[in-house]
Amino acid sequence: MLAQQLVNAISLGGVYALFALGFTLIFGVLNVVNLAHGAIFMLGAYTALQAVVLFKFPLVLALGAAIVVTGVAGWLLDRLIFAPLRARQAPHLAPMIATIGLAISLNSTIQGIFGAENLRFPVHGLAAEGLQFGGVQITWLEIQIILLALVLMAVLLWWLKHTRMGCALRALAESRKAAALLGIDVEGLFRMTSVIAALLGGVAGVLIALYTNAVFPQMGQPMLHKGIAVVILGGMGDIRGALLGGFFLGCAEVFSVAYVGSTMRDAVAFGLLFAILLLRPDGLFGKAAPRRA
């Protein structure tokens, strides 16, 4: 049972990490707590579902459609909400409240169109088939989620460290004014970050919907709560932290079910999180004066 629970924990951790990557990126660069990330995650899942059901797309193309739609959503999010608020130098809370509004509108729109009930991808095999060794079961999809979370993190880290654009992004995260003085296209970078974060959310939405077999308008809400916890635990805006935080929360939840009791699942997980933050108030990777992104 221990081995299987460990596999469960790592899969669940991969799910949380995948969701948290985009969330932490947008915080690291734009310094915005994007509470619409859960809704964009949901939008990705519904886009891919419609692509498969209506247009009979194969899954890979459906994933592409989700990336395009959530990418556009990310662009619009910055163009219509973040940019005007930046231009007006709105206080910190303004974009956060605005994203709550956006999340509610998106959820209600999707609920109005597709109804409140659960839907499911009519794709089989991928989520069901898997490996079995010594009584431990893992599906290919779970392996893909874990690998994808690792690969995306590695790519993001490499990109931030070794490309000019990544360099610019880090400069921007450090100081917006300094970056602008250095001739960096600040607005363009902001917009691009919003797009990348959103499409990461979209990809997470598709994979997690396949993993959980459940597509519904509110699917992003619980994920958002967990995502915030993961990102705070890992250190706000830190990409390695998102991954580590995800795996930590996954383990905490699974092992609290295994050894304490399922009614205590969230209590134990969030209690541990609280304890860690008492010891390291800036999160696992946070530094006293945080260098973000």
Partner: protein, 382 residues
């Protein structure tokens, strides 16, 4: 003569005259026709109307036709109270059907009881509704009655010795289903290997299922709605758990075949009605409903359809005098003795008691039909 009749008809239509002079039997229907509960309220209304057309088509009750006055209670407590008052005091109905949800019934049924008007629920399954008073009736079979039967049949057929329990602990319906399962398991002396819970909106059940797997149970008793129950079944099969699932009414929905596609087999549920039940009355009902609605009926339509026949049976014994209160009481006194066989099978009433142990309203006595899923359909288990 002809002209007077047209005139009266016109006056009635425009509300200038009250109807009793036409010697019709007025029955109020208060169901959720809009809002979330409309998915139950709308088929309920269709079930009533189908039965009504059949009864009136055969000449009505002792020469009098039944007229339905339908109101939308929107699935809300406050609205149910308003609609009840309107039907009882303004429309002066002989009796009432409704409301759709148990939650609303708790609030509105005392209004009918106070006015000494029969209120007849066709979809209220929560405990305690009929203990409100002796004018409260229902033909909806409660989970407390169905779950023990489901368990018993599953035990007989599969020979299971011990079970694991999985339930949603933050929803009134799934929690009370769990309580009823627990009671039934104690009565049947079936040991529980482990009890696991989840919360509404959860999507990951693998930790609980892994624990259940290692507890060596013979079956999983699950009190869940389809939204969580179906993914839990899929994840169980992914973990290599081939055990039967035994569910409550929340899992009794064709949506299971969609949401747990390819993994929906071996789920046991009990229901007062099944589309697969080959009884003559049921086949006739399904055919008539399909002809009228061009759609397949569900359990809610079937229970409403039967309820109308239960009332028709009672009305045959009542001499309508035109004195409203006397007629209302006469109907109440005639109802408990009714026995019919309808789309949901043989039916009769059983009196329950209120909190102080005094006799109160009437619940249904009806055998649950136990079904098991196989190849994307429910198969009746005898």
């Amino acid at each position: 003569m002809q002209r007077t009749r047209v005139l009266i008809g016109a006056l009635v239509a425009f509300g200038y005259l009250s109807t009793p002079s036409l010697a019709q039997i007025k029955i109020g229907v208060a169901e959720a026709l809009t809002g979330n509960a409309a998915q139950y309220g709308v088929p309920i209304r269709k079930g009533f109307e189908l039965a009504l057309n059949e009864i009136n088509g055969r000449g009505g009750i002792n020469g009098q036709k039944i007229e339905l006055i339908v109101e939308d209670e929107q699935g809300k407590k406050e609205e149910a109270i308003n609609v009840f008052k309107k039907l009882i005091f303004q429309d002066k109905v002989l009796m009432l059907f409704g409301p759709t949800l148990s939650n609303s019934a708790q609030a509105s049924d005392p209004v009918a009881q106070g006015a000494k008007v029969v209120v007849f629920g066709t979809s209220n399954t929560a405990d305690g509704i009929t203990s409100i008073g002796n004018y409260v009736f229902r033909n909806s079979v409660t989970e407390a009655d169905i779950l023990p039967v489901t368990l018993k049949v599953a035990v007989q057929k599969t020979g299971l010795k011990k079970v694991a329990v999985l339930y949603g602990n933050d929803d009134i319906f799934t929690k009370s289903g769990y309580d009823n399962f627990k009671k039934a398991l104690e009565t049947l002396k079936i040991p529980v290997t482990t009890t696991e819970s989840f919360a509404k909106g959860d999507v990951d059940f693998k930790p609980q299922l892994t624990k259940i797997k290692s507890s060596n149970a013979d079956a999983i008793v699950m009190s869940a709605l389809v939204a969580e129950g179906a993914p839990a079944m899929v994840q169980a099969r992914q973990l290599g758990i081939a055990l039967p699932f035994i569910g409550g009414n929340g899992m009794n929905s064709p949506k299971v075949f969609d949401l747990a596609k390819d993994n929906s087999d071996n789920l046991w549920v009990g229901s007062p009605w099944s589309s697969e039940n080959p009884a003559v009355e049921n086949k006739r009902f399904i055919a008539a409903y399909q002809k009228a609605q061009n759609a397949l009926p569900d359990q809610f339509a079937a229970q409403a359809y039967d309820a109308m026949y239960v009332v028709a049976q009672a009305l045959k014994q009542v001499k309508i005098t035109g004195k409203l209160q006397a007629d209302r009481t006469a109907l109440r006194n005639a109802l408990p003795a009714v026995q019919i066989t309808g789309a949901t099978g043989p039916f009769k009433f059983r009196q329950v008691s209120d909190k102080d142990g005094k006799p109160a309203g009437y619940d249904a006595v009806q055998t649950a039909i136990v079904m098991m899923t196989k190849g994307n359909q429910y198969v009746i288990q005898k």
